[in-house]
Symmetry: D3
Subunit: 204 residues, 6 copies
């Protein structure tokens, strides 16, 4: 098998489930029920309950709160940023999310490989171009880039959300790379069949 | 659906199967039997029988002839080069080939995403580092790079093959990108289950 | 004057202080007392109390919690990452923090301009090299990079913190660039005189 | 003398002329008659007759078959790609070809050094811009790049040929670099005098 | 203290003031009177009087001669080029000059960090974009870049001056980096207070 | 003909020879006698006698003064820097100088195309590696780079000269590109035949 066995390549002891504080133990149980497993990123953060709670709160607001951006759109941004950074953990986890939310398994692979090869609406192309540029040339972002998003129909409030999601995965890609975080094996097989999306994204 | 419908984005008429010269029609039938379909790259080249024959002969020698490199190893190089170049066509087709030949579906995804995240033998790591460097910094290749391959156990004859395969996909990635060549849909679902490799690569 | 007047270049209304939820209003008062002002990044996030709380909790743990890294060391990483990304907001705010915490105003400028020109301990040089590489070539991070940090005396637990801080500023640099976030004017004049550090960093 | 003496830096024995298969021996004799020598790339491939035949067939179709592109135009693309990749072998061999086919020795040098400094027709500038971009940023090729070629008067069929030639030299540049292939000494002095082109390119 | 103590990191003996030729000794005295110190770059060049004289003459014409560009504008270009190259010496010395000549200390920091974050006239934005591009992609300069300057109101004579200043700092940045030239400590504190410019630049 | 007719692409009137100041007219006559023509870079600078004198003095000291570096070595650095920057003017003029001074016409072409393909002494390889790195990654120069030169036998005084020459051509490459300076036609045919060097470089 080609995958390392560890959750991360740092010698930082991760606690047993039973040793977690009550709120986090419950949160992990919700993960088990909803996803079938606890994402390794949470297991890695669990060495410190304060960090785990802070990361979880920050992440859940970013990806799940009300927004002009659908959940699928946020996952699409996650994958495009992670493709530019070649992040194995995030491409695996969020590629699966795109397949699942879109019901279009090919879309997940397209965004992992090269979003420019996909057949996208002008709205999505503008959104992903912005996310990609912000990733590879952050010092060049400016008013012309914001205007391109407005021209594609995004409000200024939505621009904040696009920027926040793209920025976040530039963080998590780097943390994952630095500690060699390994994605849960379950992601690989998920949502490989075309079909109705489980959670149809609005705005797609 | 997120994939364009065309085989390529050039207005160059592609002949019906019946209109192909006899040898090429037979070759396409062999493809149908062995793979279940004719790879779109061949369909694209079929507008000109001379080009199609030349490409086919060149490709088949490269990927199938006797070599110190197993067929799997040649496919691994193909995917790593195509990942650096973000080539949707080649990542799709050759990612499937890695999954199939290795019986390890995760390996295919690892190489598509970032080969450095995979658990590789020193031989394979040296081979893929060489292919990656030759792709992104061709002008820096030199004796130290060849010595690293020799130190990993490759003969000079094998270095020719590693270089040839890595170089070839730098060609086909660019042709595919330039004409927006689309991979056959069948690749996406192939060999997603772990299992015995269908054609165990020697030397892995 | 060469600075834009806005806090950010998005048309997203920011609430008056009085309109903030009680906990956030109190938090802003603490900022006033400790820093003399509310950092603009918090003012920008204040359009949404949930986001503001999540960001604040995440940030405060990262930069202020117990760690093998001193507060100064975390600020040094912030500046080096922001220099690679040319982030005006973060260089201004965290450059001032380095000047203040180190009592060495030249150190702040050195890190803004090019940390390789500074006279650094091997520990600090290794830490900043890692942060810089993770910023500009995230896909190349791996075991050799972690080993270099261990050789410089960092524990695996400290490597997590170095990686987390470097990763975080790759996020905030991009958010700041995307929305043209402007630093508070007060930072520019802070701690320009050499003198005793106000909060001597441990481990420096 | 500043040139290595070898044909390539791999220890792969190359056969004597007499030991070649009949068809290849005859082909080398044609080279001797037409060019005055056998190009070293062919000598290098001669360790394996199948590879030599496949390469020769592929190359000759690419560079010599009927096409909207003149032979000179194909050589111009070869040089511009090889300049971006700093390939000594191909710049020497195809720089000489440009000098010979154009009767304009300065044009050969201009393309070796920087094609943007040359006085080019809009058609040639568009063709060479496309080849250059496909070389250095293959993942960004798309419909706007194809439209620029169509606007400069190229048919879709010609776009295939431009892309094929540019792609091919991205292959051969890398093979030459990887094995340190040395160009024949005769190229250096060829066609240094301005004069009537020996094989006036159509379409220039 | 974080600064090296040397003027440069080469073991090349620098003469005492008294040992300098008469003209250079007088020149250093003028520096003392006007600036309060002799810039270290001059001290470094003083190991060879011919080089010192040549550098001084070349530099003074460039930065002080009559020109459509104000002295401030020339210093702005110096800082933007040095920011792209991360040159500690030049950012320190010329960042101080921008603060002093503009009476706007924030402008100096903005240009050190990222000139795109500054509020600039279209004239200045065009001038600095040109200088930045010429620094990071010199091989792409051409007629479109010159036309952008003309459209912003610059004469062809002024284009020469913009190009000359940008080019010069690409030289001095590299010399300073190569020998680890250290700026005089006095620069750091200079002109940190907003106020009337000491030498109001024309054309700003 | 593929070369523009102008000396540069700026509308800045260049004086007739007779209108030059006496010293510069004499200098141009010396050029005519020694080289057979006045290099276009001097003709371009001649619109301003002060600039012309300053450039000439600076250049002549750099390339002709006593130095541990032979004249040929300085020309070799000029060509390697200009190759990285793809400067047509400098590659043409200084490529001819390398051919002339070395008596080895192939060396000139090798350095124009890719110095790594040349058979070089360890001394020359170290010198050219340093010049190349300083050109493409100036912010990474430091003590390890200087130590590599010392290990190859260069004194610290010689390091200054290597750095000065490499830095200078980073300036002149950019000025030439910015104004589209065209090299004199005579360079192209010069010293194309192997033979005794006209001015044998010491230290080669």
């Amino acid at each position: 098998m080609s995958r390392p066995k560890h959750k991360m390549a740092l010698d930082v002891p991760l606690p047993e489930r039973a040793a977690l504080p009550e709120d986090m133990r419950q949160y992990f149980e919700v993960c088990d029920q909803k996803l079938g497993f606890v994402p390794n990123v949470l297991a890695c953060y669990s060495f410190d309950a304060v960090k785990l709670r802070a990361f979880t709160a920050f992440y859940n607001d970013l990806m799940l709160a009300e927004s002009e951006l659908s959940k699928l759109e946020r996952e699409m941004i996650a994958v495009v940023v992670s493709s530019a950074n070649h992040c194995y953990y995030c491409l695996t986890a969020h590629g699966a999310a795109v397949r699942k939310l879109s019901g279009d398994p090919v879309l997940g692979e397209l965004l992992v490989m090269n979003y420019r090869a996909a057949e996208l609406t002008p709205r999505h192309r503008a959104m992903l171009d912005f996310a990609h540029e912000l990733t590879v040339r952050p010092h060049e972002a400016g008013e012309p880039q914001r205007q391109a998003l407005r021209a594609a129909g995004f409000s200024d409030r939505a621009i904040w959300d696009i920027a926040s999601v793209a920025a976040f995965f530039n963080m998590s890609n780097r943390l994952a790379a630095a500690v060699d975080m390994q994605p849960n094996e379950e992601y690989h097989a998920q949502a490989r069949e075309a079909g109705a999306a489980k959670a149809p994204g609005k705005g797609k």
